[in-house]
């Protein structure tokens, strides 16, 4: 909970959005009749799930998107922004979730991009000076002459913020800024935000994380399905109330059953003792691998996963989790170490061979890896198994009859909503797409399921479905390797958790042995002297 300062200049307002509605060209209503006010010296949290309309609303406020209906006004009169530049000139700056930086430029060049007359020679020296003063004032520090793409994600975000600050904005909008930060970096960011607020600026913080929004904001605005369902003063709101506003009555039953103090999912407390006397399903020893940039991404990692257990890997994204999963699923070749499935080596093999050994892989990016979007459901359902005997006849002909039958049973079993096996995959919602992938993978009857960010981008209903499924698989004796940036998810579902930082496992232990503080420190790289259990 934040200390309530003299928040907001409540008599006058800085900005007022009236009856904003946005309907996209394909008919989706992203924002529906939203009216809200913003004051100076105030941090407002914009809370909502994926698809609630938060990003759309703020894009409208910052001039990147025209509203279908409604207007944005300020005390100076009615404002209609037709370009981002106008908004910036007015004083509204947005820090995006996916940074709007030019990777090959340095920090100075990125800042210079927003200033100065087109045909002027770049006064890089001047840009640097300006940046340096800014860094002093704000307390943010970044290397100025390195191409952005070579910086760490936290640093890139700081450059993004500096870039916006250098334009002397009065309103700063941050879109899910903490999803790529360690707990320590999050605290630093919040200190900065409070400092900016005290200096008179307005700040909108977009997030879906309840605890964060309660810790730093003065006011919380809740969006659900594009509508404004709540506008409360932070100190007066309870977590449960906020959660209910966010999720709504449709899932009220589940919201009620959810214990929000600790997790937003079914609790699996009944962890039966996993039989570790038999051989593990997955055995990894001293695995080391390089990442795409040539540096070591996975650093001497060893662990085992047994049947009937969920082994979770937690940690901020970008610490080697993706590369580790790639090594185990045939998408990357490590330079050291061993990994076996029930004794058979899996390193250096291609995915098809690994699938035959009983491995299922739910990839972290369902659009880039998991599905071929223009393909139909049927065509996607056989991805990876298209050469298996039940789907392929003699001479390599595909047995579409059998395949369609298989898809239909998948649709049944996993409640995938689509018009039929011939519907293109891109017409499905995110949840249904993920269910298709999960169904496809489980149909392989795997010994081990590698699930990477399995509930990312899904609404609560779909996420819960997937998590229930994983727990069910565990009960059926399968081994599960769960990699997730959602800390609560990992802690709730896993029997044992490893925390990954810069390619190493900081610790491996049952989640009961961890509290938030310890986790935060480990995720932030602070080593400890406790033995690994």
């Amino acid at each position: 909970m934040s200390e309530a300062p003299a928040s907001g200049n409540v008599d006058g307002y800085y900005l007022r959005a009236e009856n904003i509605t946005k309907i996209y060209s394909d008919g989706t209503v992203a924002v529906r009749d939203v009216t809200m006010e913003l004051h100076s010296s105030e941090i407002v949290g914009l809370l909502g799930e994926n698809g609630a309309g938060k990003t759309t609303l703020t894009k409208i406020l910052s001039g990147l998107l025209p509203p279908t209906k409604g207007r944005v006004i300020s005390p100076r009169g009615r404002i209609r922004f037709t370009s981002p530049r106008e908004a910036l000139d007015f004083g509204i700056g947005m820090v995006h979730q996916h940074f709007a930086l030019v990777g090959t430029f340095t920090a100075a060049e990125n800042v210079a991009l927003s200033h100065e007359h087109p045909f002027a020679r770049i006064r890089l020296a001047r840009a640097r000076e300006r940046l340096e003063t800014l860094m002093e004032e704000s307390g943010l520090h970044v290397p100025l002459d390195v191409p952005i793409e070579k910086l760490a994600v936290g640093e890139q975000q700081r450059v993004e913020i500096l870039k916006v600050l250098s334009r002397d904005v009065d309103l700063l909008i941050l879109d899910e800024p903490t999803s790529v930060l360690t707990p320590l970096e999050v605290d630093e960011l919040f200190v900065l935000l409070r400092r900016l607020r005290d200096a008179g600026k307005s700040i909108i913080l977009i997030t879906h994380k309840l605890k964060e929004v309660q810790s730093v904001t003065d006011r919380i605005v809740v969006l659900r399905h594009g509508e404004l369902v709540g506008d409360v003063v932070t100190v007066e709101a309870t977590t449960e109330h906020l959660a209910k506003l966010m999720v709504g009555d449709v899932l009220e039953q589940e919201a009620g059953a959810v214990e929000l103090s600790n997790e937003e999912f079914p609790v699996c407390r009944d962890r039966h003792a996993v039989d570790r006397t038999t051989d593990s399903v997955l055995h990894v020893e001293s695995l080391s691998s390089r990442g795409n940039t040539g540096e070591v991404a996975v650093d001497d990692v060893s662990f085992d996963v047994y049947g009937g257990e969920i082994f979770g890997i937690a940690g901020v994204e970008g610490n080697g989790q993706s590369e580790l999963v790639e090594c185990l699923t045939g998408l990357r070749m490590p330079f050291e170490g061993t990994a076996t499935i029930k004794g058979t080596n899996i390193l250096g093999k291609d995915p098809r061979q690994i699938y035959r050994l009983g491995v299922a892989h739910i990839p972290e990016d369902r659009w880039e890896l998991g599905l071929v979007l223009p393909f139909t459901l049927a065509e996607n359902a056989i991805l990876g198994v298209h050469r298996w005997e039940e789907f392929r006849g003699p001479l390599g002909f595909l047995r579409w009859g059998k395949i369609n039958h298989h898809v239909r049973s998948l649709m049944d079993r996993f409640e995938i909503r689509a018009t039929g096996p011939n519907a293109p995959a891109k017409s499905l919602s995110g949840g249904n797409q993920q269910k298709l992938i999960v169904g496809r993978e489980l149909a392989k009857d795997p010994s081990i399921i590698v699930a990477s960010q399995p509930t990312r981008g899904l609404d609560i209903g779909a996420a819960k479905y997937i998590r229930d499924l994983l727990v069910e698989m565990r009960g059926a004796g399968r081994a599960i390797l769960l990699v997730s940036a959602d800390l609560d998810e990992v802690l709730a579902l896993s029997d044992r958790v490893a925390i990954m930082y810069e390619g190493e496992f900081m610790t491996v232990c049952p989640p009961e042995n961890l509290n938030r503080e310890r986790v935060g420190l480990l995720m932030g790289g602070v080593t400890e002297k406790e033995p690994v259990s």
Binding site: P351, H361, V372, L373, L383, G384, H386, L398
Partner: protein
């Protein structure tokens, strides 16, 4: 539901599905219309009468058996070079090398004149030689792409020109016809396809083209390897995740494309050509590669669509000849101009959005049909 109502609703559902599935074809038709209109504009600006011109073109192309046959004869090689482009496009690459692969195929075809074989066998040998030559010529760019990452557009163009000069050399030396220094030896009678329609250029060669197109269709949509090629073309990362070796699919696609282009040469040399020989300046083989690309795009890169599209372009060219003789003698080169406009128009993906009213009408048509379907099903309950 009664018998007749069942069948009617099933019929309507089928029509509805076909109409929605034909949506891409719809864009091609639109582009063709735009192209023809542009052609009419140029004609009019240049002082010709477009209506007379187009009328004679239409008559020349499709009005009677001979027009159709001539259209088909022109279409046959286009089908194959179009397949070259489309197969590789489906695999995610731009193979502009049909011209060169076609030329190499042509050289191989005429080379069967060096030895004698019974007809039938001679045909098969000629076709095989042509395919191999075309295939070999497309392997070069494929390997360059796979090993050095060379963009296939540039490498295939370079190979085209190398083939061009190489063939001039070979035509003037190895393959030279002792009777006429400008020509190669001719494909012998035992390897020529006989005429399908007397007095036209159409021969049985066209069946080879059609058969090949159907084979390509089956391979791409009904075999595992075809599935892999299409997947790799649409999403290489997901394909790799699915255990598909994208390098292999790329290579195979290029190879198949080369085979197709090589075969294209046989359509002319063993079929429609009058002399069944190649010339120093290539005359009859010129531009078939590039025209094939236009055919491919209008045919939406689908073998069946290509068959129709090739017929359309064949009709344009055949009709164009008649148009030259009409009272509005537009030069036949107009056809290529029209084709260029059509292709350029096809580059705009959301054509239908630019003509929204037309799209609206098709949608309402579809909805109307749907209502018919559901209402015929609902009749049962009342």
């Amino acid at each position: 539901m009664t018998e007749s109502q069942e069948t009617t609703s099933r019929l309507l559902r089928g029509v509805h599905r076909t109409l929605t599935g034909l949506h891409p074809a719809f864009e091609s038709v639109l582009a063709a219309i735009v192209g023809l209109l542009m052609g009419a504009l140029v004609m009019w600006l240049w002082g010709y009468d477009p209506i007379v011109a187009y009328k004679s073109m239409l008559l020349g192309a499709f009005a009677n058996k001979w027009g159709l046959a001539d259209s088909g004869a022109i279409a046959a090689p286009l089908v194959l070079t179009a397949l070259t482009f489309s197969i590789c496009l489906r695999a995610g690459m731009f193979n502009i090398g049909a011209e060169g692969q076609l030329i190499m195929g042509g050289l191989a075809t005429v080379s069967v004149g060096f030895f004698a074989l019974p007809p039938g066998l001679h045909h098969i040998v000629a076709l095989t030689f042509a395919m191999i030559a075309g295939g070999l010529w497309s392997i070069g760019p494929a390997l360059l792409k796979l090993t050095r990452g060379v963009h296939e557009v540039i490498s295939t163009i370079m190979f085209n020109w190398i083939a061009h000069f190489l063939s001039i050399f070979l035509i003037g030396t190895l393959l030279i016809n002792s009777l006429s220094a400008d020509q190669t030896i001719a494909v012998p009678a035992s390897a020529i396809f006989s005429k399908l329609v007397r007095g036209t250029d159409l021969t049985y060669a066209i069946f080879v083209a059609i058969a090949f197109a159907l084979i390509v269709y089956f391979v791409l949509w009904h075999t595992a390897i075809g599935y892999e090629v299409r997947a790799a073309g649409l999403n290489p990362s997901a394909a790799r995740y699915g255990g598909i070796r994208t390098k292999r699919t790329m290579f195979l696609a290029f190879l198949l494309g080369g085979l197709s282009a090589g075969l294209g040469a046989t359509m002319i040399l063993m079929g429609s050509s009058s002399t069944h020989a190649m010339y120093r300046l290539h005359g009859q083989l010129r531009n078939i590669g590039f025209d094939g690309m236009a055919v491919a795009m209008v045919g939406r890169n689908h073998p069946i669509g290509i068959l129709f599209s090739a017929m359309f372009f064949g009709g344009l060219s055949a009709g164009g000849r008649l148009m030259q003789l009409s009272s509005s003698p537009v030069p036949v080169q107009m056809v290529r101009l029209v084709m260029g406009v059509i292709v350029f128009t096809m580059a705009v993906p959301e054509l239908a959005k630019i003509f929204p009213s037309i799209k609206e009408q098709t949608v309402t048509l579809g909805q109307g049909l749907k209502r018919l379907v559901t209402s015929s099903r609902g009749r049962r309950s009342t």
